[in-house]
């Protein structure tokens, strides 16, 4: 596969591993947070850790939209189906996420809820067109990567006068999460960040510049392929060795400093900031999420239906919150592999394949065995 295989090459990985081994200072430890679940997945799926020196540690970050969604929002979605009889359209990885009452969309579907898995917002629009007598709600979730397609769908619905379509908006913003981690009352020790890849193709690398300056942390925008991860780790190691803290861009084949200006304009046109939003693991973060602008409020499911705020109700003993902050590792959780498995997830980090617990459990647990 062109543009994919190049970034998974064995020989290049071996050479890069040698360069990294030579670059690290044996006397120090490098704690690098890979921000996105995509990075975490790549690290475990390809066994990247096996190619890194033992003093380079990857701290798994919160960049997995499914993982940071508070349970109350899942319960809201289930209520939409059960109490308002809507057709709920969702991306598949949300299906198994347990809500506060251990109910999930998958279980609600089995109990006769009309929940449809879609691959894009366009599928959801089609379902709305095909079912003019039903209310169709799109469960919008994701960072800045999936936000522009939601904006497009909302504009399309408006121009078509698709009155039975609305969006349950859960879009969140990456820079706010990064700030929350760095501003935490007991901040986790992180030497540098492998910055978001797809998100940055939309927002550009510029928004991270304030972090590297303000918090004196190096950030390298890193692609999701395993060689991207290794190369970015090397760039971070070099910055740390040099005492630099800059924003560097390893993923230059997709990311520019300014990003996708058109997508940004679209987002700005359709969405506005929420004063605050709850993140699983990170708590309430100001200005960290989006809602529909007043001009598009008609398509806002939270306006169209009665949707009371539901308090998050995490399972006792679940370490997802600490894992999402980078304070703990999946193997530190007592529930891991005992009551919490991918088949029966207790916490959100076990649900999405990009979640740290699922990646560790499915790919990495041989290192503990």
């Amino acid at each position: 596969m062109k543009y994919i295989d190049e970034f998974r090459q064995h020989d290049v990985a071996q050479k890069l591993a040698q360069v990294i081994a030579q670059a690290v200072k044996p006397e120090r430890h490098y704690r690098l947070m890979e921000f996105c679940g995509g990075h975490t997945h790549a690290i475990f799926r390809y066994g990247v850790q096996d190619l890194m020196p033992s003093n380079v540690e990857f701290i798994h970050g919160p960049g997995c939209p499914v993982c940071v969604l508070p349970t109350g929002r899942i319960d809201n979605a289930i209520q939409l189906v059960e109490q308002h009889d809507v057709i709920l359209c969702t991306y598949a990885d949300l299906m198994r996420v347990p809500g506060g009452g251990r109910q999930s969309l998958l279980k609600a579907k089995a109990a006769d809820g009309d929940i449809r898995m879609v691959y894009s917002t366009q599928d959801a629009l089609k379902i709305a067109r095909d079912n003019p007598d039903r209310q169709v709600v799109f469960f919008a979730i994701g960072f800045e990567t999936t936000t522009p397609p939601t904006a497009v769908a909302i504009k399309q619905a408006q121009s078509e006068g698709l009155g039975n379509f609305s969006v349950f908006c859960n879009h969140v913003l990456t820079p706010a999460a990064m700030r929350a981690i760095l501003d935490a009352p007991e901040p986790v020790s992180i030497d540098g960040f492998l910055g978001p890849s797809h998100v940055s193709s939309v927002i550009g690398s510029k928004p991270y510049e304030t972090f590297s300056e303000q918090y004196a942390k190096p950030i390298v925008i890193a692609g999701f392929e395993p060689l991207d991860v290794m190369q970015s780790a090397l760039m971070l190691i070099r910055q740390l060795n040099d005492g630099r803290h800059e924003v560097e861009n390893e993923y230059s084949r997709a990311v520019t400093r300014d990003g996708n200006v058109k997508a940004q304009a679209l987002m700005a046109e359709v969405f506005e900031l929420r004063p605050q939003f709850e993140w699983r693991g990170l708590g309430l973060i100001p200005n960290s999420a989006l809602k529909l602008q007043a001009g598009f409020a008609y398509f806002d499911a939270e306006q169209r239906f009665e949707m009371p705020a539901i308090k998050a109700n995490d399972v006792k003993g679940c370490e997802c919150p600490a894992i999402l902050r980078g304070a703990k590792k999946p193997q530190d959780c007592k529930l891991l592999g005992t009551v919490c498995t991918p088949e029966n997830p207790m916490g959100s980090c076990m649900v999405s394949s990009e979640g740290a617990c699922a990646a560790y459990w499915s790919y990495g647990r041989l290192r503990q065995g």
Partner: protein, 347 residues
């Protein structure tokens, strides 16, 4: 035969209706003019509720498999040929030579008779090519909306040659693991033909009857064969985990040795799937004594369905029962049981 009925079945524009499952004349006509006509063989022609035949000495193998695939027709096959191959392969994975098949049809009211005929013709051709006649069957019709066109359950019976003892619990540390060819073709072909996932690909399902290949392996090194499994639903990863669990062993496989066609890889990349978990319908996993591995590999490669066979790893001792993989990238990972359903109704 058909002159007993006032008008022949309307195979051009007719539909299955509830009378076709009633036990009355309409059902008799459907059976005569469609099933018996195409499956034609001496046992079926006796019109009994069962088929009677002599059995050879030795162990018999029996297996049954329900087929609910959607769509009914896909590149490289249809539910009819798949229903034959799927069950034949399950019988053959014991080392058995399949002898006979039985078929149960659940038809949905409204199914075009032309579609049913196409399926039956395909099924008959697959059974004929495999040398395993369909000797008894059953037909039921359910109301519209209670089925999805047609579901087919097939049962196969076969005889295991003497000296062959193949079972999922026979893998031991040191044994070699072979796969008969590229993986993921069937699953990707099905995905590509689903309405909501339209993308262009030239990948066709690998649906095929594997008993000929198995016979060649049995002829080559009967006592060295330990486990055979066709990695259908859940793909290669699931088959290996099943065998590791049954045999209480671990496995180490080498990603670089596992063939995945470029188009399958690309489709999986787009859909976020791992080809190790994508279904196959014409491949087998073979676990055998290490010293017979090369010989069995050569035998596989001589067979048209095993041309791309490879030795992909070995069985190890591991109390955890992990299937682990050296990645092509150069690291290690577990190849775990699949979670949930990557794609429903794949077979």
């Amino acid at each position: 035969m058909s002159e007993r009925y006032a008008t022949p079945l309307n195979l051009k524009s007719g539909h299955v209706d509830l009378s076709h499952g009633s036990g009355g004349r309409a059902m008799a006509q459907l059976i005569d003019e469609l099933f018996i006509k195409h499956f034609d063989n001496d046992l079926l022609r006796q019109h009994n509720d069962q088929a009677l035949f002599n059995v050879p000495a030795g162990r018999l193998a029996i297996s049954t498999d329900g087929h609910v695939i959607s769509p009914l027709f896909f590149p490289g096959g249809d539910i009819g040929s798949l229903a034959v191959h799927g069950t034949l392969n399950d019988v053959a994975m014991s080392g058995a030579k399949p002898l006979y098949l039985a078929a149960g049809f659940i038809l949905e009211e409204g199914l075009p008779l032309a579609d049913l005929e196409r399926i039956v013709i395909s099924m008959a051709a697959a059974a004929k090519a495999a040398g395993t006649p369909i000797v008894t069957g059953d037909t039921k019709v359910v109301e519209r909306g209670k089925g999805d066109g047609v579901f087919i359950t097939t049962t196969g019976v076969g005889v295991v040659p003497e000296g062959v003892n193949i079972s999922g619990d026979q893998a031991r540390p040191g044994h070699a693991i072979l796969v008969s060819g590229s993986i993921g073709d069937h699953g990707v072909a099905i995905m590509a033909s689903r309405e909501n996932l339209q993308f262009q690909t030239s990948i066709v399902s690998d649906s095929a009857a594997l008993h000929g290949l198995v016979a060649d392996l049995v002829a080559t090194a009967p006592s060295a064969l330990r486990c055979l499994r066709d990695p259908t639903r859940g793909g290669l990863a699931t088959a290996l985990n099943e065998l590791a669990k049954q045999s209480c062993v671990g496995m180490v496989i080498d990603e670089a040795k596992i063939l995945v066609k470029a188009e399958v890889k690309a489709a999986c990349e787009i859909l976020g799937l791992d080809p190790l978990y994508v279904a196959n319908e014409g491949k087998l996993v073979c676990i055998c004594d290490a010293d017979a591995a090369e010989e069995l590999l050569a035998a596989m490669r001589r067979h048209p369905l095993g041309r791309d066979a490879a030795i992909i790893g070995q069985v190890i001792e591991d109390p955890h029962g992990f299937v682990q993989m050296t990645t092509a990238f150069g690291g290690r990972r577990i190849v775990d049981w699949p979670v949930g359903e990557q794609l429903p109704r794949i077979c």
